[in-house]
């Protein structure tokens, strides 16, 4: 019998699962889609230094500053320690900047003033109007890898993970929550899981879960649109040094740069539409910091929803705190067996997990302390494995592949060593057939989207136009999917990619998308839906 069920396979849920497992609690995680697909991969990938919240939200700032250091230490495979900048432009208020520096120092954030002329040589695309610049310990973090690492660590301690299961209801026993009723989205069957505790970490969907127990939980789904630029525009994160607003953060990550974000409260957490006006606004605001942002190629636009905790009244979600709240529904609403965690952000996922597991553990009578801050999530990659993969694909690519697959490297290497395993399937992101096949072997009937999140397949220049069908072919050849599934897999994959382009991008990216569309129609007799299903 399970002691705890975690609802939600984002960073928070995965962090909770690992924390539970490390404390010796028998736990399982349920997720309505693939791991990470909801919010933890639909954001800018910034590991906050805390600087962004220093003035307005000191508590969040302090949490970020501390957790930033911890995440770097425990998850080096997921963090690119590129560093960050806060730049004040000519038109921005110098008084705010001064206030910001003081607030950062008080929150324990290491800020260092930089010489603007020197900085311009290092970051040549920065606007001429930069007047002040500060270095902060921002970094970029890959939500997928972080979650994958946490889940793998938890599984090593006996935890279970059930993806593509939608929670349809809570099992109740004498007014208390005693488990979940699930719909297996792959088979359509209903499943039941019983446990002493259910931990609601469903993020933007947390209000819907609480409602199943008749509880009102105020979670605002706050939709943010982001742009993915085709190349690496800066070497460091660039934040605008003024009151947080739209379009004020660039995050370089891997081969792309993300610009975020907007903030629009939406009634439905599944609403991840990208209004064309928000794309234009982001480009215009981004160009104030990096003029090239107005004209550089944007690969796609996408949206995610922030789960903000607070009242639904009042329009400006920027005013809601970015900190998190643990709600013990037994104490608050008299419903036992259910704890919710709402608000927060990816940077503080571990702390959020620690706090909610503290509450759950006390209900379960478990006294083992939290160890997640001190223990690395995964051991560093095995030296022998690194040597093998380096000999296969060279030093730089070996590093990238090892980081992409922190927990399953040996399987990947085995597949890469098979005949044809080193053949490049996705050129833009240099994904080999072996990496794809090795990843797919660990999944049950994977979609191309599942593989995309794990390998970066289709996330580069061609947005899946050329690599999608190559990948499907590689999977069929390796006997991982039946050939009959290929049309449906491709259609879903491409529909999601097109959705990111046709939502309001023009120029080069639209030309590329139309080329892909034409290829699919003329070569594969596909009529993909430009609207797309989303969330793949």
């Amino acid at each position: 019998m399970l002691q705890a069920i975690v609802i939600g396979g984002g960073a928070t849920g995965a962090g909770i699962l690992r924390d539970l497992a490390l404390r010796g609690i028998k736990a399982a995680l349920v997720e309505q889609g693939d791991l990470v697909h909801g919010t933890s991969s639909r954001y800018h990938g910034l590991l906050h230094s805390g600087g962004r919240y220093a003035v307005k939200d000191a508590e969040s700032a302090r949490e970020c500053a501390e957790e930033n250091q911890i995440v770097r230490r425990i998850a080096p495979f997921a963090v690119e320690p590129c560093g960050g900048l806060f730049v004040r432009l000519e038109q921005d208020d110098p008084a705010y900047a001064a206030q910001w520096v003081t607030a950062c120092r008080e929150a324990g954030i290491a800020v260092e003033e930089l010489d603007v002329d020197r900085l311009r040589r290092e970051e040549p695309l920065l606007a001429e109007s930069v007047r002040e610049a500060y270095a902060v310990p921002d970094a970029s973090v890959d939500g997928w890898r972080l979650v994958q690492g946490n889940v793998a660590a938890a599984e090593a301690y006996g935890a279970r993970v059930y993806t593509y299961r939608r929670v349809e209801g809570l099992l109740m026993s004498g007014g208390n929550v005693a488990g979940v009723r699930l719909r297996n989205l792959a088979t359509g069957e209903e499943e039941r899981l019983e446990a002493e505790m259910v931990i609601n970490a469903a993020g933007a969907w947390a209000g819907q879960i609480a409602a199943m127990a008749g509880i009102q939980l105020d979670v605002v789904a706050d939709r943010g649109v982001l742009l993915v630029y085709h190349g690496r525009l800066t070497s460091r994160v660039v934040n605008r040094l003024r009151k947080p607003g739209n379009g004020d953060i660039f995050v370089p990550t891997g081969s792309v740069t993300l610009l975020g974000t907007t903030a629009t409260p939406v009634p439905d957490p599944d609403d991840i539409r990208v209004p064309a006006g928000e794309v234009e606004e982001l480009k215009r605001l981004g160009a104030e910091m990096l003029p090239l942002a107005a004209s550089a190629r944007v690969l796609r636009a996408f949206a995610g929803v922030r789960p903000l905790y607070g009242s639904r009244s009042g329009g400006n979600t920027r005013e809601l705190s970015r900190t998190f709240v643990v709600v013990d529904h037994k104490a608050e609403h008299g419903v036992g067996g259910l704890v919710s965690i709402v608000g927060g952000k990816l940077t503080t996922y571990r702390l959020m997990a620690e706090r909610v597991v503290d509450v759950a553990a006390s209900h379960l009578g478990v006294t083992a302390p939290c160890r997640t801050a001190t223990e690395p999530i995964l051991p560093p990659p095995d030296r022998g494995a690194m040597a093998r993969i380096t000999s296969l694909v060279g030093t730089e690519r070996a590093r990238a592949v090892a980081d992409r697959h922190p927990a399953s490297l040996p399987d990947i290497i085995r597949a890469m060593e098979e005949p044809g395993g080193r053949q490049i399937v996705c050129e833009c992101e240099q994904v080999t057939a072996g990496e794809l096949v090795g990843t797919a072997r660990s999944l049950d009937n994977p979609s191309l989207g599942d593989l995309r999140r794990r390998t970066r397949l289709g996330m580069g220049t061609c947005q899946g136009g050329f690599c999608g069908y190559r990948a499907a072919l590689a999977l069929v050849r390796a006997d991982l999917i039946p050939a009959s599934r290929v049309p449906e897999l491709l259609a879903r994959f491409q529909a999601e990619r097109w959705r990111g382009v046709r939502g309001g991008l023009g120029g080069l990216e639209l030309r590329a998308a139309e080329l892909n569309y034409a290829l699919a129609r003329s070569q594969l007799a596909m009529e993909p839906e430009a609207g797309g299903v989303g969330h793949d």
Partner: protein, 403 residues
Amino acid sequence: MISEYDACLKCTICEMHCPMLRVAPEFPGPKNGGPGLARLRAAGEVAELDHLDLCLGCRTCDTVCPSGIHPADLIAVPRREKVGRRGLSLRDWVLTHTYLVGPVAVRMPWLTNGVLANRPVRWAMEKVLRIDRHKPMPRYANHSFREWFARHESPWKDRPAPNGKVAYFHGCSVQYMEPHIGRHVVEVLEHNGFEVILPEQTCCGLPIIANGDLRGAAGNGRFNLRHLRAPAEAGIPIVVSSTSCSLTLKHDYQHVLHLDGADVVARQVYDISEFLLACHEQGLLRTDFRPTQERLPYHQPCHQRAQGIGLPAVTLLNLIPGVKAWNLDASCCGSSGTYGFKEEKYEVSMKVGEPLREALLAAGAPRAVSDCETCRWQMEYQAGIQAVHPVSVLWEAYGLGGA
């Protein structure tokens, strides 16, 4: 740089036309190795792809790209960075600096050519320098072109040429190996009422660029621009009989080496066939050709195609009564300058040239035409036929050789 790789739509047209990808699937190809790698390089994820050095530098990809990208230049970046750090290898230096040997070699061609054709010597060159022993070295002439020009008497010596002056950039192969082609260029131009002047010049630098030494090549480029600038500014056309030289003067000085004044000169540079065809279109070209019966298969050098000037030589040759010239349209000869002489490249270079060899044999003509010297040498070596410059055919047809 960002704006250039940004433009790639991954349309794959470059790959469909790449002569190397057809024979060497391990070659990353222009799409992947060019804009694709440029993008990843910025992320520090992939510094270099394997087998990138297989690129012929033929610029077919630049020519066909509908998005205006120059994949060939992007592909060359890692090699250029490496050579920039470590300098040229001895072999690559030797292959790219034949113009320094030229002045001595033409004094004693019997010795130079004898040594370069000597089998034990070639075996040793392969072992030591990794210059393939199979491919014949170009043969040095017994005089330089400029020596001939100094002795030569212009018909426009005492009176102004009716069509004005033309500056001639002859390049290394005409100067030291094929001075007769230079003579043909000069006499054909003079026959058509032009006075030919010879600016001071050195090797255009293309072989050095192709082997990655941009700094070395810039020296050559600056020297040439210094001497070509005055005629260019005076509005004098600069004609070039080697298509690699003309591409370098038109494109590389500006877009690869970024040299001052390169644009001024580039505007005046014409491939010789391009120039003569333009003359014809303006009614300036004499057509007093002697009729002859000849079928002339023609191979267009990649470096001429990259200039985007059509097929001027084929049109010109067909002006000769009785001549049937046609473009073989058989991809790249595979030699690509110094490329085909390298031991590790010899085999793949021959494979690239295979369609041309077959087309030449199928044409069944005793001789063929091409504007580029290394293409001609490769055609002669692979197909065992004679290969001539189009201007030489015109020269014959004008009866300038006498008889």
